[in-house]
């Protein structure tokens, strides 16, 4: 067979772009869209500052979050009479600085949220992709199993399992992941099924690409946006769940500061010293609200179908 080239002109011009530039261009475009969507931008800034505070907790926090001092117990925040700037958000029942505890507690919350979503998102997307692509027996079994898991209320399920395996950071992550991959599984499975019928997949098969490559290099980039939106929203959900479990004493154990257990410990002083449980609650509210705003904004930006409406 003769050589393919029909006209033997070789192009020697300099190459101006690269693959990295493609992703950078998309990222810049994304940032531009994000700044246009005000609520999402606000959410992003607040979430980012929470993360920065959590990373630099040891240098930012004014006091040791674990050190108790009975003399300073139940001091109110600075704007209430009796409070002082030394403890800006007051102290709890054994005299620990609430601001420092919130800063360190944010570490736990964000870590739990991100790690859980990371692990369960990875597992769920992987299984969902295979199930949606190949269907058949594998898909049947996993789908019925996921239906089974979804039929339990999440919190009760988590309380049940946590009381069996016992509290602790590692156990908490395992229990949360045990069920949460299901959401990612169902989403990626559904998206995979609908994408698989598209012609570009058929074309990739006709090119001789392997199934794995079609799944993860052709289809996944087309569905990653909905997975990202789900992941963002789930981070907020897991932060709440971790706080609920810690509130019940099944999550992070004292003296490690966690927002849930802080809210719980202030319960008894609700009428006299409201700040002990209210302030961690507000921190939780702001963080989760911002994450949800960011998630909703991401959905608007990343899903072009919504833009048309």
């Amino acid at each position: 067979m003769t050589e393919l080239y029909i006209n033997e002109k070789s192009s020697n011009k300099t190459i101006k772009y690269s693959k990295g530039k493609m992703y950078w261009g998309r990222f810049k475009h994304f940032l531009k869209e994000l700044t246009h969507c005000r609520t999402a931008f606000l959410g992003a800034i607040i979430v980012l500052s929470f993360i920065l505070v959590a990373i630099f907790a040891s240098s930012i926090s004014p006091h040791d979050p674990i050190k108790a001092s009975i003399v300073n117990r139940l001091k109110p925040p600075f704007w209430i009479e009796g409070g002082n700037a030394d403890y800006p958000l007051g102290t709890d029942e054994i005299g620990r600085d609430i601001l420092s505890r919130i800063i360190y507690g944010g570490r736990i919350s964000i870590l739990v949220g991100l790690v859980t979503v990371g692990i369960s998102g990875f597992i769920g997307t992987l299984l969902g992709s295979f199930a949606g692509y190949y269907r058949g027996r594998f898909d049947e079994i996993l789908s019925r199993f996921s239906d089974l898991l979804l039929s339990f209320p999440y919190l009760i399920f988590a309380i049940f399992l946590m009381s069996i395996v016992g509290p602790g950071f590692f156990n908490l992550i395992v229990i949360l992941c045990f069920k949460s991959w299901v959401n990612f599984f169902r989403l990626s499975r559904g998206e995979m099924i609908s994408e698989k019928t598209k012609e570009y997949v058929e074309a990739a098969q006709a090119l001789g690409e392997s199934d794995i490559k079609i799944m993860f290099k052709e289809i996944l980039p087309n569905i990653i946006h909905s997975i990202l939106v789900l992941a963002t929203l789930r981070v907020g959900y897991f932060i709440i769940l971790e706080a609920s479990l810690s509130f019940l004493g099944l999550g992070i154990q004292p003296p490690t500061p966690a927002w849930g257990s802080m809210i719980n410990s202030g319960r008894a002083y609700m009428l006299s010293s409201w700040w002990v449980s209210t302030i961690p609650g507000i921190a939780l509210l702001i963080l989760v609200l911002s994450i949800n705003l960011l998630g909703e904004g991401l959905r608007d930006i990343l899903d072009p179908r919504l833009k048309l409406e």
Partner: protein, 321 residues
């Protein structure tokens, strides 16, 4: 080069077995262009997909052989088949808009096609050069810019050229073109066909062109297979069939090509609808729509009859010849 013998592909649906490809045999020599003609849903595309072993569920190839350079593709394992797809036999699809992956630069997609078949031994730094070359070969201007376009930034004709570049990337022996010009407007159609013709002439790539446009076939192909309801009804050289169609269906198809300047006569159409493949009647599937039908047509299976050398017709009219 390619020889299909008695290929049968059926779809096993809830409503019953649909014989989408029923006893198709054809032969394509090196550098030849074969036209596969028929109405929508008569099994043209399924024939192509059967060659590549990509018949979608619930379809299944149930018999026959597909000999490509003497080797039966139907007996190959799926990993062996991958070696053929895109490499020795590549495919061009009908709708370029949906066939390109919307999230990647078109250049990256051509490059991906090069990378799939690694044994071609192209160095990484040469890949891009090769892609530019391919883009230029299919007649697109400024390859450097085209490389960094997303599919939606290109027009339909340009997208189809990109698809042809992808199909050409591994220098295949055979290109299966599934209605490559249907989604394009007429002037672009002519350009794309010219490009395919050029590839066929210059490189000697064999092409199977699926189309419902007999005008295209007359201009472009050497051989033609007319299909109806999964069966071949007429096959032969283009010069024979276009000027002297034997089968009433082929005659009807040829008559239904509109003529420019002819205002007096309405466009001819074949009455009736494409039959339901799940409930085909005994005998000739074209019987209900045929203008020359006879009572015998319904009795039993009509065999292909050779009327001249290499010219076969499946019709009772020629049974006595």
């Amino acid at each position: 080069m390619l020889k299909i013998n008695n290929l049968h592909t059926s779809f096993f649906t809830y409503r019953g077995t649909v014989k989408a490809v029923d006893d198709i045999s054809l032969e394509l020599k090196e550098g030849e262009v074969l036209g596969l003609v028929g109405e929508s849903g008569c099994g043209k595309s399924v024939t192509l997909l059967s060659i590549l072993g990509l018949v979608p569920y619930p379809g299944k190839i149930i018999g026959g052989e597909v000999l490509f350079k003497g080797e039966d593709l139907l007996k190959k394992s799926s990993s062996e088949m991958r070696h053929y797809r895109g490499n020795k036999i590549s495919m061009i699809f009908q709708d370029p808009m949906t066939t390109l992956n919307p999230v990647f630069y078109v250049g990256e997609q051509i490059r991906e096609a090069l990378k799939v078949h690694k044994h071609k031994k192209i160095f990484k730094r040469d890949e891009k050069e090769k892609v530019f070359q391919l883009i230029e070969d299919v007649g697109l201007p400024s390859p450097e810019e085209t490389y960094y376009q997303y599919p939606y930034q290109l027009s339909g004709g340009m997208q189809q050229r990109i698809l042809i570049a992808i199909a050409l990337s591994c220098q295949p022996n055979l290109i299966l073109a599934d209605e490559p010009t249907t989604a394009l407007d007429v002037t672009i159609q002519a350009q794309i066909l010219d490009l395919l013709r050029k590839i066929n002439k210059d490189v000697g790539t064999g092409i199977i062109l699926v189309t419902h446009d007999l005008g295209v076939v007359a201009e472009f192909c050497q051989k033609v297979v007319v299909m109806y309801a999964g069966k071949m009804v007429e096959t032969g050289l283009v010069d024979q069939i276009i000027y002297e169609p034997k089968h009433p269906y082929t005659q009807g198809l040829l008559k239904s090509i509109p003529k420019i300047g002819d205002r007096k006569n309405k466009i001819h159409s074949i009455p009736g609808d494409v039959p339901d493949l799940a409930t085909l009647p005994e005998g000739c599937a074209f019987y209900p729509r045929c203008v020359k039908r006879m009572p015998e047509c319904q009795k039993n299976e009509i065999p292909l009859k050779e009327v001249e050398k290499g010219w076969q017709v499946r019709c009772m009219l020629y049974k006595g010849l």
